[in-house]
Symmetry: C2
Subunit: 239 residues, 2 copies
């Protein structure tokens, strides 16, 4: 692949587009590498990394190849070197301010989770509509009323918004976050959010996860459970 095209003065050789699925796995590799570094390992092979991350070795190498040559043939990957590379590729070590809207149990759990802080995600704004929760201190930050959303986002320059509100208000909260300047949203509310172009939304739907498991469970038990599909289920237009 190289040779013919490289004579062209391509402005950038690195920023080949990275598939989103690959990005997600890179984050996993980075975490595994952190563990290996803690164990004092200096080098690691693709096979070992792959099993620790739960993926195929060839796929792992292809994922890493998006960053350019990272390893040494015959030896493997330098743990520290690869960590550095992955860290910068995923957005650097700089602290990323986040706001959480909806400090129910789930929101509080996220705001208090230490695993985020160690990756540079800092929860600098907590917002809730319930006056009884306002003033609570969660994870070293004080809960403020939802009316302060715009000012909190502006003051903290928050880059990521986490929505853990009831479904009914999720869209309006989302709109306000976007209007205030947040361009990345992690949505736990069970609704499909509508956002303008240029804003990224990722959705985590815990009910769906459970329901998929239930489906797989049923499918496995398929021989046992005759399903009992009512013949002629009456979907016809009875109207």
């Amino acid at each position: 692949m190289f040779g013919s095209l490289w004579s062209l003065p391509v402005s950038e050789s690195r920023p080949r587009i990275i598939p989103e699925a690959t990005v997600a796995r890179l984050a996993v590799y980075l975490r595994v590498l952190a563990g290996l570094a803690g164990d004092g390992r200096s080098h690691v092979s693709s096979g070992e990394l792959a099993t620790a991350a739960g993926v195929n070795p060839a796929g792992l190498r292809k994922d890493l190849s998006y960053l350019g040559p990272c390893g040494v043939r015959g030896v493997g990957y330098s743990v520290s070197g690869l960590r550095e590379r992955l860290t910068t590729a995923l957005g650097g070590e700089r602290s990323r301010p986040c706001v959480v809207v909806g400090l129910g149990r789930l929101g509080a759990a996220l705001a208090d989770y230490a695993g985020f802080a160690s990756r540079g995600f800092e929860f600098v704004g907590l917002l809730d509509a319930d006056p009884q929760r306002v003033g609570d201190c969660v994870g070293g930050c004080t809960v403020r009323p939802i009316a302060d959303l715009e000012s909190v986002v502006a003051d903290t320059e928050a880059a990521i918004g986490v929505i853990t509100t009831p479904a009914e208000v999720a869209q309006s909260v989302c709109d306000r976050l976007v209007a205030a300047g947040v361009r990345s949203i992690l949505n736990f509310a069970p609704v499909a959010l509508t956002v303008p172009p240029g804003v990224d939304v990722r959705k985590v739907d815990l009910s769906v996860e459970l329901q998929v498991l239930a489906f797989l469970d049923q499918q496995r038990d398929g021989g046992r459970q005759p399903v009992t599909v009512p013949v002629h289920a009456g979907l016809g237009a009875q109207r």
Copy 2:
């Protein structure tokens, strides 16, 4: 007209294999339908359902076609009929007992979430290694010591295990759950679990979600796009 192909004695028309991605979307459709039923709607078109679920109308119809003909051409889908069919396809309405291991904030949030109970997921066993948490009552269930894992799973015939423990103990907890008879596991610990064949694992990795957002954010800032689009321009990236 009809007859040429239809005369073939196709062995089975129903149990076509359903892709897992489709199953996940079916769960979303089911939830949207519940909302529509609450609004008193009797029929709905694929277009309306698709926008509410955040997917493509053609894709939605293809998803539903895995269940066989569900709608009426020229009219749409019967809300109640489609609900019934999706419910049975996803595993029926029967209560599915679940156990949660690790009653930290996240585990407690899950155990207490009412949205699960309404879908038939019942948390019948809560386990934690911390003696200080044992005896607590979360969501109407009492936390028991981790030593009771096997007996709790056996007594409740739990089908689904939710792991919200620290990463270090997740694999051992998983092994014990599987040995006790659990065949579906939802893992929130940031490790790749190893399970024997016949056991399904789904992983939810919140750090990865944030890190993907950070990557997209960085990639967007590569072109320095001030965005400034508070205007409700249109449908953005939905994921």
